[in-house]
Every structure is written in C-alpha cells, then in structure tokens.
Amino acid sequence: MQSVHDPSLVSHYVSDAFYRELIDAFKDWQRDDRAILDVHERERFRALIEREARLLDRLDFDAWLAMYAPECIYWVPTMPGGGDPRREIAIAFDDRRRMEDRIYRLRTGYAWSQAPVSRTVRMISNVEVFAAAFPARRMVRSNFLISEFRPDGVRFLSGWCGHRVVERAGRWEIEVRQVNLIDCDQNLRNPSIIF
C-alpha cells in the first residue's frame, strides 16, 4: 500500500513491518526451485540492470532514480548476507529521501571525496531471475565489477546485487537494491560513489 506522504520529503514507509518483510524477502531467495528460466524474463531484467549500470556510469542520477519505485531502498550491508538492518549499521541503507540526499550532496560541488568525480565502468554478468513471495515481483541476482578511476589509479570493486523489482502500471521498477560488496566487512577506501 502506498502511503499518502511524498517519500521524497518525509519518511513514513520505513516501518517495523517494512523492515520485517524486507529481511524476510532477502533471506533464502536464491533457490533453484524458484529460478525462472524463461529467456524473455531473463533478458528483460538483464536489460534493466544493464541500463541502471549505464546511468550510474554516466552520472545520470535523475534517470537512475526514476527507475525506482516511489518507496524504495538502496541497501549496502556491512555483513555478508545482509544482516538485520534494525540492529546493525549498514554501509548504506537509504530510503528514497536519503537517495536524493546522496545525489544532492554529490551535486553541491563541495563533496571533496568526489572532487574530481570518479570515472566508473560497470560490468554486469550472471543475471538470474527468481520468483518472489509477492505477486508482480521478481528477485534478480547479478554479479558486478566496477572499475573506478581516481587520479591515483584504477581500482576494482566487486560483488553481487539482489534487485527486487515490481511491476506497476505495466512498468518494472526497482523496489529494493541490495549491493553486496565482497569486502563489505572490511575497511573501505573512499566509498563515495553510488555502487
């Protein structure tokens, strides 16, 4: 159910019930018996995730944000497997407003960690689609490799993403994106890009 509040301005949807449902949805979903092997479905979501990667590489944050459902989460856990975000800090656990905060900050011209702005190229592979517990939703797993150039060199960030996508009015939107860095529980240097 969508609330009456504008999630860009106030945060009412990140409730206890929301957390519980989220934790549940991101537990034990990558199962062979839920895999959707249909080629068209797989292509649809591969295209969606590749488009997201391109928009982020091109710093087209408005178009990137428009790929998300109004009530969405960008989640980068500190714990392999995610953990319970009610009891644990995440590298990032942004609702829509905080995603907009993140973009706003990067655009101020005073985000020194992004001065100059990183150049990135994302590679996406191993896209697999799984049935979700709720109707009109899918869970999508993909692997990523981000090459990030800053003036002192190129580094590689790698991991995998769990996207929960939802179909609304004939359009597939990203409801939750969980970014699992392989070194999420280690000290990270300058994690200031949107992964």
Binding site: T78, R87, I89, I91, D95, R97, Q186, N187
Partner: protein, 455 residues
C-alpha cells in the same frame, strides 16, 4: 630484551631532536611521513600508553573473542573460561604463526593451523603434537602465549598497555572520564552495546585523524556538502552542525583539553536544553517521521526523551591515541603503515535492561542505526579525502612545517583551570598543540615494555 647493536639501540629518543620537530606553534612534516618515526611510535606510543582494544559488549560470554591490534601487534581479545578479559598476542609461541584468523567467535582452545600446538583461552599451552620428539617437557612458561600484561576496563571500554610504568587506567584517563560518563549516562542504564561499523580507511598518517578529532575549524569547509544536504528540506537551516556557521567562536560550545593527550569538544550548549532538543536538529533519516509519529502517539510528551536516543550526541570525546566517541559512534583509529590508517565507526545500540522502553526499543534502535549511517556516508568521506590530500601535500620536502597555532597568543582566549584543564573556543587548535606536546614527551621517553605469560 635482546641487545640491539647500531643506531636503533638508542630507540625513538635518539632519532631526532624532538624539540626541533615539535614547536609551540607548528610541527615538522616528518612526524607524518617518516617510516622511522612510525616504527618508533609502535613502541613509544602504541606500546607505552593505554590503547583502546575493544568493548566488553563485543565479548559478552566466557570464551568470546574478537581479534584486534595493539599498534601492529595482532591481538586476540578474549574473555577467558573464568571470565577474565585478556589480550593475547595472536602469535604461536612455536614459529610465530597467527593462531586465529577469524574476526570474532567463541573458543575454549586455539590450535595453530601450522603445526598443531594448542592453547587454552588463558594463553596457557595445552599440548604439542608428538611431544616425544622434544627433549623438554613444555612446563616452562616461555611456551605459553605472550599477552598484554595490563588490561583494564572503564565502563565497558577495554584498554591494554605493555608498559609497567604507565599509570593506572583511571589515572591515565583522568578528566576525560567525566565526558565519557555523560556520554554513557544519557542511555538507559548508562550502557550501550557495540554493533556493526562503517569501516573506512585512508592513505595517510594516523595522526591526521587524531589532529582532526576535535577540530572545529574545518567543519563548515570540509563538510560544506553535508551541511547543505541536510538542510535542503529544513524550514530553518539548523540541522546537524549548522551552529558552526557564522561566528562559531561566539557560540557557547567549547573545546577542552583534559591531559594525557585526551580532549573534548562540547557542542551541547548550542542545542536547546530540553527533551527533544537533540532530535529537533537531527538530519532526515529513513523511517524518521514514521517512528516519531508512532512514539508520540504511544508515549505522548515522553517520546522526546526516547527520540533523543536516536539523535547524534553533539560531543567529540577523544582518548589518546585511538578512541573517539562522537554522536553515538565509537570511532577507532588503527595505524596500518606510516601512510595508511583504518578508521572504524562502530555503531552503538541502546540496551534496555530495566525495560523502560518496552517495545519502543527495537524501533528507536532501528532509527539510531539510520542516523548513525549519515555522517560516515556524507561527512567522514570528505574528511578522509582531505587527510589523503594533506599526505600528498607533505611530499613537498622543502616546505617543512604544519601549523597548529589557531588561538595561540591571543590574551584571555585559552584558559587553564585549577586542575590544569585547558578550555578554548570551538575552532581553536589548542588541543592539537597540547596532545602533540604529550606525543613529543612520549617519543622522548625510553619505555621498557614487557609481556606476560601464564606461569
């Protein structure tokens, strides 16, 4: 200790004329860039003073352990089978292999992966494989694990030192215990529990982070993007650290140096002193309005006190050399090399042993997680970028000096009280000058460090 021949036998004290490197108003670039100074610090600082090792809530049960470091020394911080907290060197007595490669766990025994020597959680050698191949019987204490001889806690914070001449922990902490007490006591039962962390690192010397830990001068510049961001939707621009705008030195906040390298930035006087005053200036957080509305509906006016638990306490409590309590975080500085440092922002959650929060506990902790994620994401990353750029700038060999003289020499500006504690306006660098003086005193000393082994 083995007799070492050659120049290094003189230790840190003989490396430099420290009075030349550390002057009243400035310090030499070498203290941030010289590998020899970094190597000497591992003894004179990281071995010789009480260093923060971890929090008791990370090892609540007997045989719980975490792995950590004392300077570069790998340490197993363990609550042994009898409940005593020990800091064992994570190093097999046999050939030097680290025994434990996990970050946390519970173990009554550590078995070396290399040759199978095993040790109890007290550090005592339990057994070696095929002992009949040895002429000795291993009763000699020298085969038990080396451990930090002095480990002590202050209200859950565990420290250790290798220096038998160091004062007691409570003496070492001195006046900084007051701010630590207040930081804890605002939480139910005067307690917090450590949880996951925002773990960051930067290519720069660890002292650049400690120099910054009480710096009120950098805020509106280094954190300009954060201040603009968190006030973008506010009715009035008063969120977060907005009080640094305009004339910060005219504000009631202040910095205080309490001795032994410890210092304190108290920004609380800038905030309305009322229940809910802290929550009122907290930046937007996921779930903020939802939880606020729910708590107000359930608790009425009492909700303000609960919401303040998710607000970032406006203090910076810095315990030399590696602990910083700020907001609700326990930040730990960890040297990696002369130009690499880990800064780990452990989150804390509220514990409610008396049950005063009831079912609001989980909600306020969830909100507290989200408020704690804000600064590391949108503030600290910019500081760390600036620290890295200092390290780069210091490659200018001929431009030798780094200044920390803000506030120095202005009559009446820096005040020393009867206890010797020093108070100055919020943007002053007095704490830097004072802690680096203490650093110099330690580098000029010749501490005799020891380890202990079970008998």
């Amino acid at each position: 200790m083995l007799k070492v021949l050659g120049a290094s036998a003189t230790g840190a004290a003989g490396l430099y004329d420290w009075d030349e490197l550390i002057q009243e108003d400035r310090v030499h670039r070498l203290i941030y860039t010289d590998p020899a100074i970094f190597a000497a610090e591992l003894t004179n600082i990281w071995g010789a003073v009480w260093v923060y090792l971890g929090h008791e809530s990370q090892i609540p049960n007997n045989n719980d352990f975490i792995t950590t470091k004392l300077g570069l020394r790998p340490i197993i911080l363990i609550r042994d089978a009898a409940g005593t907290i020990r800091a064992l060197f994570n190093r097999c007595s046999h050939r030097g292999t680290t025994l434990c490669r996990k970050e946390r766990g519970n173990a009554h025994l550590f078995t070396c992966p290399y040759h199978g020597w095993s040790y109890l959680s007290t550090g005592k050698l339990r057994a070696v494989p095929w002992p009949d191949g040895y002429a000795c019987d291993f009763k000699d204490a020298k085969f038990n694990l080396a451990q930090v001889p002095r480990v002590d806690s202050y209200r859950g914070f565990v420290f250790g030192t290798l220096n038998p001449q160091a004062p007691s922990l409570i003496e070492y902490l001195g006046g900084i215990t007051g701010p630590i007490d207040e930081w804890l006591d605002r939480n139910p039962g005067g307690k917090v529990e450590v949880c996951e962390a925002n773990r960051l690192k930067f290519k720069g010397n660890w002292k650049l982070a400690y120099d910054n830990s009480g710096d009120g001068y950098h805020v509106v510049f280094s954190h300009r993007s954060l201040l603009e961001m968190e006030n973008r939707l506010a009715d009035e621009a008063n969120k977060g650290m907005s009080y640094y705008r305009g004339s910060p030195d005219a504000k009631p906040m202040y910095m205080r140096y309490t001795g032994n390298g410890h210092h304190f930035k108290d920004k609380r006087p800038n905030i309305d002193k009322r229940a809910g005053g802290l929550w009122a200036v907290e930046g937007a957080a996921p779930g903020g309005e939802h939880i606020e509305a729910k708590l107000r509906g359930r608790f009425g006016a009492k909700a303000d006190d609960i919401l303040d638990l998710a607000g970032s306490e406006p203090v910076n409590i810095n315990v030399f050399p590696n602990l910083s309590l700020l907001g609700n975080h326990i930040q730990v500085f960890e040297p990696v090399s002369v130009e690499e440092t880990n800064v780990t922002w452990y989150g804390t959650r509220v514990v409610d042993a008396e049950g005063t929060l009831g079912d609001a506990l989980d909600e306020i902790n969830a909100l507290r997680m989200r408020t704690q994620e804000q600064f590391p994401n949108f503030g600290e990353v910019d500081d760390l970028a600036n620290f890295e750029e200092i390290q780069r700038g210091l490659a200018c060999l001929e431009d030798e000096w780094v200044y920390m003289h803000r506030g120095l020499g202005i009559p009446g500006r820096v005040k020393t009280d009867a206890k010797g504690e020093i108070t100055a306006p919020a943007t002053d660098e007095a704490f830097m000058r004072e802690y680096i003086k203490e650093w110099k005193r330690l580098m000029q000393a010749s501490p005799k460090l020891t380890v202990q082994r079970e008998p």
